[in-house]
């Protein structure tokens, strides 16, 4: 059953698109208000004025700013992200290579966090005030207040340095002694992704738990939970089917907010673990004043958040039948 009308969805997509236009404009302004220019790195001491002028010409910096802005907006909407001066390659190629790596890391962390968090929150909220709740809850708060890079170093120290179980950097083995087949690639990536995912999810689940626990506790006082007990349903059925199902609704909102924080976290984690994804390139490109790459990474991360927002709105209508978009407005 669809509870979301096509017209409403179309409207939401248009709004999302406009949001992205605003983000693009902001990006353009912000990056150009940074001191220096991105060709600074290409200019060396021995260059003549003509050579510098030529570089400026090549990168379109002699055009007036408004012209640059219009070119930028048109190019971006046609998928032309320009060339990276530092990598000397089309930005789109870089993005296509790096985006999936970050998505794998993001996706896995996001999924694991949003499975563990609500599950733990469900149990703690249901048994709120019990000894188990008190101890797990205070432990999780302690975890929540630890910075992710610190956890990462801790994990590297324990699992890499002390135990030697897992690699501490990169996505693939650098000088492999095995043949690259689909299976060995998979295995190798899993081997390398384990530590970053562990570090991210070690604290990543707490956010959604913090939303689930109190809402779970609230719904236990609801009339329908009492009635579910009165119907003779088992404790488990009442908890999962009647209580948790309702408590999940606010968690979906939290997921969007959580995603933004997760992006923060992955930027740090990618740099700590030398993970060749978007989070890593976002830092190097800003440091190198590689505007085309910086612009594109920020932009694509923004696209990700905007898409997730759209998805949650649709998910909402399935989670809560009282929410109906685009009808009888």
């Amino acid at each position: 059953m669809t509870r979301i009308s096509g017209k409403y969805l179309a409207k939401r997509i248009v709004v999302s698109y406009l949001t992205l236009l605003v983000i693009m404009s902001l990006l353009f302004v912000l990056l150009r208000s940074m001191p220096g220019s991105f060709i600074t790195s290409m200019i060396s001491s021995g260059m003549t004025n003509e050579q510098i002028q030529q570089i400026r010409e090549t990168w379109g910096l002699n055009e007036p700013l408004w012209r640059q802005y219009i070119d930028f907006m048109i190019n971006y909407q046609t998928g032309n992200f320009g060339r990276s001066p530092t990598y000397n390659a089309p930005v789109a190629d870089l993005m296509i290579r790096r985006m999936p790596r970050t998505l794998v890391l993001f996706g896995a962390t996001f999924l694991i966090g949003f499975i563990i968090g609500p599950l733990v929150g469900m149990y703690l909220g249901w048994w709120r005030g019990s000894k188990k709740d008190k101890s797990i809850f205070s432990t999780s708060l302690l975890l929540y207040s630890m910075p992710s890079f610190w956890i990462s170093w801790l994990f590297i120290w324990v699992f890499n340095y002390e135990l030697g179980w897992l690699p501490s950097a990169y996505m693939f083995t650098q000088f492999p002694e095995f043949q690259w087949t689909a299976f060995t690639v998979m295995r190798d990536v899993l081997y390398h992704i384990a530590l970053p995912i562990m570090s991210l999810t070690f604290i990543g689940w707490v956010g959604s738990m913090l939303i689930m626990r109190p809402t779970m506790n609230q719904v236990t006082d609801e009339g329908y939970v009492f009635l579910a007990h009165a119907k003779g349903l088992s404790e488990r059925t009442v908890m999962i089917k009647h209580a948790a199902r309702n408590a999940l609704i606010p968690v979906a909102t939290g997921a969007v907010v959580g995603l933004a924080f997760l992006i923060d976290g992955s930027i740090i984690i990618e740099n700590v673990f030398n993970w060749p994804g978007m989070g890593q390139i976002i830092v190097t490109s800003v440091l190198n004043r590689d505007f085309p790459v910086a612009q594109a990474t920020f932009f694509l991360l923004a696209v990700l958040v905007v898409i997730m927002r759209l998805v949650t709105d649709v998910v909402y209508t399935y989670l809560d039948p009282r929410i109906k978009f685009g009808e009888g407005e």
Binding site: G223, F226, A228, A230, K231, G232, N246, P321
Partner: protein, 385 residues
């Protein structure tokens, strides 16, 4: 043959500081098949607690301290092919089953009682409006109850029955596919009633069934309950503070105060030959349609907290008729008929008889006369607690 027999039931709520709230103390009553029994009293008197405790639906800190709840049923695993308990189960001293086939619900564990809930005793909760889960279709919630207790039923059959039940309470069967938010308040109430009848229970507990409803809907709900009773022969245990509603629908009732039954008997007896100061006070505070210009008199003071209560009659602090004797112990139940006829106080354990918990039953006429005067209630000084 009695359907439900409650003996000396005491329920406590544990409090953090180690004390206990005596929500119900040594309560006795019984419900016959097809009868409507009322528990009436002001908020906090223990009537809802008492009803919920029958099927162990108390809050986490509530527990049955003592007493028996004999109910005409048995667990599925203890039943023979006729649904009666097997002889071996009756003979087993570890199983709370009596020779007359009744089971003591108070002794069942939490898993066992879930088989009794809804199949034998269904509840229409106080907040029936919020009792429907917002994320599931109303029909599916009825189906869930049917499939829980009758696993051999197919989903299609259960759906068909859910539609029939809704139609039975005046809701279009197609509305089974709607969600609770698409129902009006009265419809939700009726849907919950339909759900309560899903497994054909023997006892229906209706907790304040009309409280949040306007009078027109109230009347319809009461009619609905009466019609269901006639059709299915279900007994109804009604809980309400509204004695006018109780007068209308109950065959028999118990007036509760501070966790104790103060007076019990047939409804007419309680209204026409009231024999307890508390019931007299309660009657004064409700308008009747027949007496013009009636002044409503409320009972001064507030109900006791019930936290480790003192000895003595629970009502004595607000009772204008309290004497020295009332401070020693809560009075036993006295037979009202004997008192009326012979002016004597005779203790009675007969649940069918009109009985009252008041030491001054031998001065019944005087008390009834004085209770009508407003000054009797307003002039007394309330003992400080």
């Amino acid at each position: 043959m009695t359907l439900l027999e409650v003996n000396d039931l005491s329920i406590r709520y544990a409090v953090d500081d180690g004390s206990a709230v005596h929500a119900s103390d040594d309560v006795n009553f019984s419900v016959e098949p097809g009868e409507t029994y009322g528990l009436v009293g002001e908020s906090g008197c223990g009537k809802t607690t008492l009803a919920k405790s029958l099927v162990h639906l108390l809050d986490d800190n509530g527990y049955i301290e003592d007493g028996e709840v004999w109910f005409e049923t048995t667990l599925p695993q203890w039943a023979d092919e006729n649904g009666d308990p097997k002889q071996s189960v009756i003979d087993d001293p570890d199983k709370p089953v009596r020779a007359d086939g009744k089971t003591d619900l108070a002794q069942l564990n939490s898993k066992q009682i879930r088989d009794i809930r809804w199949r034998d005793i269904a509840i229409i909760p106080q907040s029936a409006m919020n009792a429907l889960n917002p994320v599931y279709k109303v029909g599916d919630q009825i189906v869930e109850a049917i499939l829980r207790h009758e696993p051999e039923t197919t989903a299609e059959e259960a759906h068909e029955r859910a539609r029939d039940l809704l139609e039975r309470v005046g809701i279009e069967p197609d509305r089974a596919d709607d969600y609770a938010h698409q129902f009006s308040g009265g419809m939700k109430q009726r849907a919950v009633i339909a759900m309560a009848m899903a497994c054909g229970p023997d006892l229906l507990i209706a907790d304040e069934p009309t409280t949040a409803l306007d009078v027109i809907i109230q009347d319809r709900i009461l009619e609905e309950l009466e019609a269901l009773q006639e059709e299915f022969g279900v007994s109804i245990l009604v809980i309400s503070h509204d004695i006018s509603v109780m007068a209308e629908i109950c065959d028999r009732m118990a007036v509760m105060y501070g966790g104790k039954v103060m007076e019990s008997g047939r409804t007419e007896e309680i209204f026409d030959a009231t024999a307890n100061p508390y019931t007299l006070g309660l009657k004064n505070s409700f308008p009747t349609i027949t007496s013009k210009d009636q002044d409503l008199v409320s009972i001064p003071g507030t109900p006791p907290t019930l936290r480790d209560p003192d000895e003595g009659c629970r009502f004595r602090e607000r009772c204008p008729f309290a004497v020295e004797e009332c401070h020693a112990a809560h009075p036993p139940m006295y037979d009202v008929a004997t008192a009326d006829a012979e002016g004597r106080a005779v203790e009675s354990t007969d649940r069918r008889a009109h009985t009252t918990a008041c030491y001054r039953i031998d001065e019944l006429e005087q008390i009834r006369t004085d209770a009508i005067n407003e000054s009797t209630w307003t002039d007394q000084t309330i003992e400080s607690r």
